[in-house]
Assembly symmetry: C2
Homo-oligomer: 350 residues x 2
Amino acid sequence: MRGMSEPDTGASRAVTLRDVARLAGVHPGTASRALNEQTRPLVNEATARRVLEAAEQLRYRPNPIARGLKTNRSHTVGVIVPDLMNPLFAAIVRGIEDRLDRAGYTLLITNTDNDPDRERIQFEAMLARQVDGFIAATAQRDHRLITEVVGPDAKVVLVNRRADDNALPAVAVDDDRGARLAVAHLIELGHRRIAHLSGPHLLSTGLRRQQGFLAAMSERGSDVDPKLLDSSHAFTEAEGARVCRDLIGRGVPFTAIVAGNDLMALGCLDALDEAGLRCPQDVSVVGFNDIPFADRFRPPLTTVHIPHYQIGATGGDLMLDMLRGADVGRRQILLDPELVVRESTAPAAS
Amino acid sequence: MRGMSEPDTGASRAVTLRDVARLAGVHPGTASRALNEQTRPLVNEATARRVLEAAEQLRYRPNPIARGLKTNRSHTVGVIVPDLMNPLFAAIVRGIEDRLDRAGYTLLITNTDNDPDRERIQFEAMLARQVDGFIAATAQRDHRLITEVVGPDAKVVLVNRRADDNALPAVAVDDDRGARLAVAHLIELGHRRIAHLSGPHLLSTGLRRQQGFLAAMSERGSDVDPKLLDSSHAFTEAEGARVCRDLIGRGVPFTAIVAGNDLMALGCLDALDEAGLRCPQDVSVVGFNDIPFADRFRPPLTTVHIPHYQIGATGGDLMLDMLRGADVGRRQILLDPELVVRESTAPAAS
DNA sequence: ATGAAAGCGCTAACAG
DNA sequence: CTGTTAGCGCTTTCAT
């Protein structure tokens, strides 16, 4: 009868706790206690050693699935980002991974492409998979979507985003300060007619940067022509190009643009180019985020640097705190942005 | 006694199959059958409907952990890449994710930074987590590391890499053809003294591209000066710069470089710049991969385009085939590269 | 200090 | 067609 095809999962039956226990000549319960850091003190030292050795010898690997079923913890954390192909989020995820991995957690990573439906589905899928917590970089300012799906007392931390009411712990950059940095730089270069093309106002990074921009401009006595203000539907090159084309089409003069982020800045460069305007000779452009390769672009992009990796790492730490049962409340960790001056900005053409 | 702090996993006890069964007035076994596509035909239609409704009403979400423990399948696939921050791999992962997600699989993604120790650890961790299969973009030409760790009959597919003996199913690009495309282009531009700075020869992409380069050169009657050949320790900007500096330092004249990949090409640009050589006026540079933003670089990079997303998607499909029990054997799927001419190449200075 | 036994949530073999 | 039973691999009372 052999040769009958079995389900064949590919693995030659894994060694289980019982195998270890048998080899060590103890009861599985004892083996479990010996193998577990926490409970090891409960067991005779010599016995423990025997169990450890048996485990070693059999190359025993505990099955976290089984453990999770019992303990109701999966040692898994869900990470939800708009798009991994955006180098900003890739970097943030690396930061998260490094911290969580070290603590024995595995990541479930997923992209939403900023589609709320997809986001909801992904949250639910992760919930079903029993993740112990969520780290989200997709959140809208109004975090109801998340809260509704995962419930009020799920462990959630936001990265590179904040909720309006600060109800969710978050690690982000001080967008207001970042925008001010950009404005200050342009003003120093002699620019007065500065446009701001912001990201979607549903996102904290879209709205707050605009608020910072507006505040900085008014504090420096520069009125902002509303015609020099617009916001995109997404933080993408295509959307950056679109709003920039609109801006140019309005015929209102301007000598500089503060873009919602680097990708939008890239779109602006395209639109300017199409219109025969050169950067920085005719129009200066400032981005936001300082994504990898920003220094390689043509021209190298002046932009507001944010500590990508650090945002992720700090977010990971925050999640670990929560996972350990700490009450982080509605902690908001704001990291500092920094202006990086490169070649997409120049003195205003007078 | 209430108020005693319990483990508090954050979730208010999830609704289980028993709850559904109770509400529908059936035995949990029946509920299970009704809920499962596969086994639904086994149960009375009316009963099934009742169960489905109960499930709906309670917002029941099956617990895949528990299911997995029983069925010995986790519906999870491990994805191992060198570095998600490399836009090439981010794109490949998106391709994988789209296919697998659609089929109900969840991804465990991890980076190795090309560290074999880390790679081994990650494979083991995923194995412990009971993944149903592995998709690896990290594999060395000698795949022993993988095979040793996961065993001979684990389900593995390689993406953007191949094993020397073709023992592992793989989705990759025809590196040989890609390299030939690059050489043909340069020769047409009048270049004769062409250098090749390849990636690590431990990786198929490092070696095969070099072989293609060599073959193309000799077929076209151009001898290759061994002094114009070198290989790096990693596919990175830093390594590209290093080998290019070495190349320049050797004092052997050359007018063009075929770089192991785009990142190395970027490093070459840096090294050329340091040496006061301009690209493309003095030296032409061709990359490989056509990573996102390659068209934005200074100068826009002439490079061999490969279908990133498609590699991932096809790899995902291949994995799904295996997961469904198909015998894919040692199938090697080779996708076609395409030369994209931009501004980092120009006619040879005579 | 250790063994016994129950059970996490689910599926599957077996009855009926 | 449906209920019963057992058990996936592990942890955790409860005894002893």
